[in-house]
Symmetry: C2
Subunit: 473 residues, 2 copies
């Protein structure tokens, strides 16, 4: 496929010692070097991120095999890129030339679900939806729900500290991690954290590994806390003629203490795109649409959504509607869920990811509108209004170099806007290979230095996912 | 006072260069060496923990002053023990001979309360209750409530990842930390984390500093998320003739998904001690008492407590009573809050701190009973039933060496019991200088080695709170 992989796969080239050792340890069926196969593991879903090609793709089945891989890799100084399904949006799982890509998808068992301790013990390769379905059979709930929940893996969720629609009420992946088993860069196996709800014995290493994007260790098992199953939601939808009104509603909701279980916003570009695709009869003149849910149950849920409905009226909404009919609620939520597919009808999409303080959402929406005008681009903004995590999405024609360049420039404009409003360059998608320069800007020189110190402490030879998140310096 | 302090305070001994530099930088009013004064900063509340005497006590007023202290200390290789009010129960704040004790209580401002972003920005010296009261004036709620909440500081809470009665529903301190300002061992100032609800830009360093007991840096500012004010609670009390029944109720509550805002247990020793002190008319023959609350509001709260009441009846309780009268609820809760003062009437108390999986609470209570019998001791057990965090408390006569020795031995027996049940050696009090050997046992050799690597990365000269949590090796 490329010169890089050819060095390890050409019949005339000698097999490197590390590759022979890996094959001996794991078996030929778990160590893949066919360039057509390895190329298929080269990238995640981040269009902008650079990528190499794996020197080998390794698919371990046990912690002992992962340990063997890291022991061999560290002995030979071969870098390792851990990954799951490859649903990431920042290139964190993108291959590095000459490196092993360590694919965790075969370790996909749900090892335990305990109702008495309300927790699950899982391997990293289990798909998010598979875990959700399994614990639901026990009347339990695993909240983190990235939009790729039907194919992303828990290991990837852990590595990226994934969020989703649930976060406004239920937080993100790190909030559900009790304990981890991690294979370190040198192959040693660390068990950290615990099975108890509370515990302060030592540093919170589990939460350090969560969100570290595979740069500190390879997660091979996780003990996750669960919640009781939520109740049937009550759903609210409201439309507004100005974005400022939606910002006002979010700010008022935060201030008055109502905590919906879902609280999403779409701008006019998204509304029209969805309406074009779904023929949903949405208000095409609205500047913004809010969808919210309460899963508090029965009257309490209706009461919560009525509080929010009144805030919408106070802000001068064009329309507000509350329903406790589950099917109608699903339909209203479908409009939100279709926002990105609908934008894809308008061209190739480039999704950004910024979180701003909740009081700055209106300013952020207006800023995105200004960027769209300045760059002469279609930018649809969909976001988790309740937690300020917004996903402006640039639509462009990839065959038009100028159009493409303007989309890429707008991507950076959005990050600049987010930082200027006191926000962060990534709310839930991660840094990966896409935003390393931006990370350095956000965390500053002291922050970068501390990151490098921690990285060196756990991976002194820099073998784990090199070049991702920040440069080793 | 002792030979140690005399070396820095005797009029005939030369003033060390670092002390002169500190005094020049912060002023004489902030650098105390009078042995009577420094001795008063020697210890926290952990009777068993060893302690030295501070070489100097330094009370900074600003981050710049903290930075100056660490710059001077690191230049001269002088260790530094950061501390707050000294309410700790593991000796984490205990002085180290020859070290500076850095007392953060003068940095006690609540810098901001934002209702729109539902957060507060505080200095470390603010007392927990002062923060709670301040945010309550804005209709907001800061949940973590260690029993010393009316005098412990937020900085100490952060350093120890403190819990309290709230944890069963609202989690612990780390769950409220959005961002931190930390002065590093070499005096540099790190700002980490953010003001947004979500964010995954870089490692979660904030949660690494939280619970690190002053061994990785000095926290000088925290951005804390807040919750809406809770509603007036509905309270339940129930008594049981066997501990197994309380375990059954907790397990059933966890399994069926009811999440009280408070869920506490007391054993017979505590019931009788409280009844002796308060003349509260408690059932002195009961083997265990549960107190629970729901703050879900109105009918929802009553419904939650009715579910729990039915679980108590199913378990064969002797009595169960639910009230939505706030004054009566306060009275019922007072019995729980008085458990430790009541035990103090029986002798000197030595409080332990173990968390076990919630399914093992009955086994833990029975195990404590067996330890009490084997050691011929009074052990009262009070605990956070809802999260499995239990505080067996040994009562003994400190003038009786044998009695004292049996109490200290029982302290270790309890830890052994907790570990044997899949628990942790500390649920919320921390490791400090009290449980370092136990920590090494719980986290194992790989865990210890990773702790040491992280410590070296952030504090290469081992100046910050040396000897606490684990030995530098």
């Amino acid at each position: 496929m490329t010169a890089t992989t050819a060095t390890t796969t050409s019949p005339t080239a000698p097999t490197p010692a590390w590759l022979a050792e890996l094959t001996a340890a794991l078996g030929a069926g778990s160590v893949l070097t066919d360039p057509d196969v390895t190329a298929s593991y080269a990238r995640d879903q981040a269009m902008l991120a650079l990528s190499g090609v794996p020197a080998a793709v390794v698919l371990p089945r046990t912690t002992a095999e992962v340990s063997a891989v890291m022991t061999i890799a560290s002995a030979h100084g071969v870098p390792v890129v851990p990954r799951g399904a490859g649903s990431g949006l920042a290139g964190a799982a993108n291959a590095v030339d000459g490196a092993i890509t360590l694919v965790m998808t075969r370790m996909d068992a749900v090892l335990e679900v305990s109702t008495a301790d309300r927790l699950a013990v899982v391997q990293p390769g289990v798909v998010n939806k598979a875990l959700r379905d399994e614990v639901a059979r026990h009347g339990l709930f695993y909240p983190p729900d990235p939009s790729s929940y039907d194919w992303c893996t828990i290991g990837g969720n852990l590595a990226n500290n994934s969020g989703g629609l649930c976060c406004v009420k239920y937080g993100v992946t790190t909030d559900y991690v009790l304990g981890l088993e991690v294979v370190l860069a040198d192959g040693r196996v660390l068990r950290t954290g615990r099975r108890t709800v509370k515990g302060v014995a030592g540093y919170d290493l589990a939460k350090l590994f969560v969100g570290s994007e595979g740069t500190l260790g390879v997660i091979t098992e996780a003990t996750l806390s669960l919640r009781p199953a939520p109740q049937t939601p009550v759903t609210l939808v409201a439309t507004f003629s100005t974005t400022a009104q939606t910002g006002q509603v979010v700010e008022a909701a935060v201030s008055c203490g109502v905590v919906p279980s879902l609280f999403e916003v779409m701008d006019r570009t998204c509304i029209r795109a969805v309406d074009d695709m779904m023929k949903a009869g949405l208000d095409r003149d609205a500047h913004a649409l809010l969808v919210a849910q309460s899963d508090a149950g029965g009257e309490a849920a209706l009461a919560e959504m009525e509080v929010l409905a009144q805030l919408c009226r106070d802000a001068g909404c064009d329309l507000v509607h509350v329903t406790d009919d589950a099917a109608e609620g699903d339909l209203l939520l479908a409009a939100r869920r279709m926002a990105l597919p609908a934008l894809e009808q308008l061209g190739t999409t480039l999704i950004d990811d910024v979180a701003v303080p909740r009081s700055r959402i209106a300013a952020f929406l207006d800023g995105c509108d200004a960027i769209a005008r300045a760059r002469d681009l279609v930018i649809g903004v969909v976001g988790h209004a309740g937690d300020g995590n917004m996903h402006p999405t640039m639509c462009f024609d990839p065959t038009d170099d100028d159009h493409r360049a303007r989309a890429f420039a707008a991507f950076d404009d959005v990050l600049e806007l987010g930082l200027s409003l006191g926000g962060t360059i990534t709310g839930e998608h991660g840094v990966g290979s896409l935003k390393t320069a931006w990370l350095e800007r956000e965390i500053g020189p002291v922050g970068l230095d501390v990151h490098r110190s921690v990285k060196r402490a756990l991976d002194p030879d820099g073998l784990l996912n090199p070049g991702k998140m920040f440069s080793a310096g």
